[in-house]
């Protein structure tokens, strides 16, 4: 049986990952099943829910819409890279304090997306946050506490926390 697997070398959360993958495997599948990082979740596999959000070369994408071989030579940040050895990121702390998660399946996607927002725009207002996060679906919270968590995180980051 011949293989059509391609060699991919990609920086994930600061570590170089080298592996083989089939052209039809999405980045989402590669992260979870090839590298073994299951923090990035699947909700729909067709780019409509944002549960699989990762940061690719500086912008957030649905990893289910990116093919594995496409990220050769790129930089990817996933939920696993958000906390540091010193502790949780301000956004993660805010999500916990504000109870911005119930089942938690959408949470990794929201945290990656919100982190990207606050890195670009440190003090977004409610309307801006809602707009930025419109590509991330949550069915449990009604978004209220998620928005509050992002507002709180922006405050914390401003205060140097």
């Amino acid at each position: 049986m011949t293989t059509n697997k391609l060699q991919v070398s990609v920086n994930v959360n600061g570590e170089q990952q080298d592996f083989l993958c089939e052209p039809r495997q999405t980045l989402h599948e590669v992260l979870r099943d090839v590298i073994g990082m299951t923090g990035t979740k699947e909700g729909c596999a067709d780019g409509n829910c944002g549960a699989c959000t990762v940061k690719l070369d500086g912008r957030i994408v649905d990893s289910c819409l990116v093919l594995g071989p496409e990220v050769n030579g790129s930089t990817v940040e996933t939920i696993e890279g958000v906390a540091s050895p010193d502790g949780l990121h301000a956004i993660q702390e805010a999500f916990l304090e504000e109870a911005a998660l119930q089942c938690g399946i959408c949470t990794p996607g929201f945290i990656v997306a919100a982190k990207a927002l606050l890195e670009n725009e440190p003090e977004p207002d409610e309307a801006r946050i809602r707009h930025w996060l419109a590509g991330n679906l949550c069915r449990c919270t009604g978004y209220d506490k998620i928005i509050r968590a992002v507002l709180s995180a922006s405050q914390k980051l401003k205060e140097g926390k």
């Binding site: 729909c44 998660l101 938690g104 990794p108 946050i129 809602r130 996060l133 069915r139 919270t141 506490k145």
Partner: protein, 753 residues
């Protein structure tokens, strides 16, 4: 309004599984792995209704990388009729099995026909395309009223109508006709000054949990079956999987993974029996995950409905009679929640005379499952919409009207059962005095609507054990999967008893071999019933530790008191141990202390909710914006207020989606045309304002901390509240959900239907 202040109850500690869930470490159903894992996929019917003439799996079986193939004939044939399954009420096992995989007929588009297991999910998908199925397409029926009519296509050959508790022997898609009645409605309506009536229709909607079903199953060589799954009820998975595979209950162990939403839709089994058979065939663990399309088309949405409601009132607003006709579309097998809908719809009101006819009807759609207070949102949509019309006609304030007719403790429901302790009146008072209710609407094209809702809530069985650690912390084991913060809510109750901080209790959710039977995380029961279990287990620890203190003080256990985390010698109060100090002395006084409890608590507190919503409708596009939303609810006692608020906000938003956009849009072939998250349009953050909540606390005397179930009520009032608001904004009355832009423009006369 809570009468007691507690140390831990009512505070907002960080949830115990929080760090894992914000870092991606928590393992959900789809996150399972094994070194020799295989992947399975399901072939599904493209037809809404068809005879399966033949299935040829030979090419698929020979496909490189394929390790097994099954069809419906690989599932055991079980007895006809219902089977007692011990821990759960009798189920029609053959119907459950046939829903999991078709036998002689495909009953809905998406019905499972065959399944393949292979070395990769992609190879499994390739192999599906090589399975050859010969179908004879049959006429399908999708509309509930069409299906009830004589001459409708027969969906289940053996189905006859059970009417008023008796099998009529008549073959029909009407599975059951039930009647609920109290008083005498002919007399009631004769006494009425005014009678209002209207018809309503709703579409099926889906719970919309973001995580698709996923399971990994190993049928081991010793015939022990292990299932890793995200499901609301691991014990139910054990029971149903053993039943469908016709294996001993004891050979099945279910290990609960974290679960990404359920809302009632993740109680049935869809994957586990199939993955088990494929594991047996292949000799490997097998993983199966549904795609989003499969979730929408082949799990269990809530039923669509056709309803008629009629209410008679006196000129002063007193309700004298209520009548309803409910026809719910159960899907391909009987079992919609039309009965629950009937039992809840009029319950916010004290009405002497009620008559309801409730029909459970088959259609060529997926078999429905529970969805957050199943049946009650539909019923409330009808009644609360009609009440809005009545109040407008009488020029009566909607909250005054509800207070005038308010159900309270002792009010008889349509079943005749009197309500226990409830907080309906207190909640209505909170509404009346609220800022939102008294605020001006503030803008053109705006409307305001209000509605009430009721749900019984459940008790059922829970077990708990608590182990005292030498450092004074306590390990907690329960069987309740944590969908919305229940590790915290239950640990807090144990902590309150023991005088500990919430984080001194370490909760774990255990598999079915490691904890006593525990019913589903659902039914608004977990903080109530599993909390009771942890409360009782904590009290068991206190009893045992009093014995230990007595030993150390050389006295009798009756001489030991425990209060606020301290053991004190009653006859000599200078002698005391903190919980932590005594915990360090357990090994020398007799060994570890483990507390246990198994409860089926009575004293379930039913719940009422009331929502106020302001909308703005664009007259050119028909788009409705929700501009302000306040949800009131009697929550008994909020154990962890953040998660209680969260339940209310989440349920309210599901109601917004159901009212404005969500539906199963079928084409003429009986195929769902919008089976993705793109077109099955759930609310996004951009569609919504903040959802304000008002927690009214009328403590439930049936629970040690006053807790009442809270999770389901929030979906009940919203459909009517939003409908009433839209109707208020556009000045005409839609009585069909969803109120999508096209329907609104039609109602405004802007476009033709």
């Amino acid at each position: 309004m809570a009468t007691t202040d507690y140390r831990v109850i009512g505070t907002r500690p960080i949830r115990h599984d929080g760090t894992d869930k914000v870092t991606g470490r928590a393992k959900y159903g789809g996150d399972t792995a094994a070194s020799d894992l295989l992947y399975a996929k399901i072939l599904r019917s493209p037809h809404a209704h068809a005879k399966i003439l033949s299935i040829d799996t030979s090419k698929a079986a020979a496909h490189p990388g394929v390790r097994g193939v099954i069809t419906g004939k690989d599932l055991p044939e079980l007895g006809a009729g219902t089977i007692e399954v011990g821990e759960t009420p009798s189920v029609n096992a053959m119907q459950m099995s046939t829903n999991v995989m078709a036998r002689d007929k495909a009953l809905y588009k998406g019905h499972a026909i065959a399944a393949v297991v292979a070395t990769s999910v992609h190879i499994a998908e390739e192999a599906l395309a090589e399975i050859e199925v010969q179908y004879e397409v049959l006429p399908h029926v999708m509309d509930v009223r069409e299906s009830m009519a004589d001459g409708a296509p027969t969906i289940l050959e053996q189905q006859t109508t059970t009417s008023l508790g008796k099998d009529t022997g008549k073959k029909s898609n009407i599975a059951t006709h039930t009647v609920f009645e109290i008083g005498d409605t002919s007399k009631g309506f004769a006494d009425a000054d005014l009678v209002f009536e209207r018809e309503f229709t709703t579409s099926p909607t889906h719970q919309g949990y973001i995580e698709p079903q996923s399971a990994m199953v190993l049928w081991n060589t010793d015939d022990d079956i292990t299932i890793w799954t995200s499901n609301q009820g691991p014990f139910g998975v054990r029971t149903n999987t053993a039943l469908l595979l016709d294996v001993p209950l004891s050979s099945v162990k279910v290990i609960p993974m974290e679960i990404g939403g359920g809302f009632g839709g993740k109680i049935p089994v869809y994957l586990e029996p199939l993955a088990a058979l494929l594991s047996k065939q292949s000799g490997h663990p097998v993983k199966m995950t549904l795609t989003r399309t499969e979730v929408l088309e082949a799990t269990g949405p809530t039923p669509g409905s056709y309803m008629k409601a009629k209410i008679g009132v006196k000129n002063d607003g007193t309700i004298v009679a209520g009548e309803a006709y409910l026809a719910f579309a159960a899907g391909a097998f009987p079992g919609s929640a039309v009965g629950a809908g009937a039992m809840c719809m009029f319950t916010p009101y004290e009405i002497e005379n009620i008559h309801i006819d409730a029909y459970d009807v088959l259609v060529n759609k997926p078999k429905v499952s529970a969805y957050r207070a199943p049946g009650a949102p539909q019923g409330a949509y009808a009644v609360e919409s009609l009440i809005d019309e009545i109040c407008a006609s009488l020029n009566m304030d909607p909250v005054e009207f509800r207070m005038k007719n308010a159900a309270k403790q002792g009010t008889r429901q349509v079943t005749g059962v009197p309500l226990g302790n409830v907080g309906n009146v207190e909640m209505l008072e909170a509404v009346k005095n609220s800022d939102h209710y008294n605020a001006p609407l503030g803008g053109p094209n705006r409307g305001r609507g209000v509605a009430s809702g009721f749900w019984f809530n459940a008790g059922m069985q829970s077990s708990a054990t608590l182990q005292v650690n030498p450092d004074g912390t306590v390990g907690q084991v329960t069987g309740s999967v944590d969908i919305g913060g229940t590790r915290a809510a239950t640990a807090m109750q144990a902590a309150e008893v023991l005088g500990l901080d919430a984080h001194d209790v370490k909760p774990v959710v255990a598999d079915t071999n490691s904890i006593g039977y525990t019913a589903v995380t659902g039914g608004s029961r977990t903080a109530f019933a599993t909390g009771w279990a942890t409360y009782e287990a904590a009290n068991d620890i206190v009893r045992q530790m009093k014995e230990r203190a007595a030993k150390l003080w050389e006295t009798d256990a009756s001489d030991v008191e425990f209060d606020e985390g301290k053991f004190t010698r009653a006859s000599n109060p200078e002698q005391e141990f903190t919980f932590k100090a005594l915990a360090g002395r357990l090994m020398e006084t007799g060994g570890p202390v483990v507390g246990k409890a198994e409860v089926t608590p009575p004293g379930v507190g039913a719940g009422f909710g009331h929502h106020i919503v302001d909308v703005e409708v664009d007259p050119e596009t028909g788009k409705t914006d929700v501009v302000r939303y306040t949800a009131f609810q009697d929550v008994g006692k909020a154990i962890h207020p953040s998660y209680v608020e969260g339940q209310i906000q989440g349920g309210a938003v599901q109601g917004i989606g159901w009212a404005l956009n969500e539906e199963y849009y079928y084409n003429d072939s009986g195929v769902m045309a919008n089976s993705s998250f793109l077109d099955y349009r759930m609310p996004t953050s951009l569609d919504l304002p903040m959802i304000d909540t008002v927690l009214v606390e009328v403590p439930n005397p049936g629970h040690p901390y006053g807790a009442r179930g809270v999770g389901e009520v929030p979906l009940v009032p919203g459909l009517a509240a939003i409908s009433n608001a839209v109707n208020n904004a556009i000045g005409t009355r839609l009585s069909q959900l969803p109120m999508k832009p096209g329907n609104i423009l039609e109602a405004l006369g802007e476009i033709e239907g």
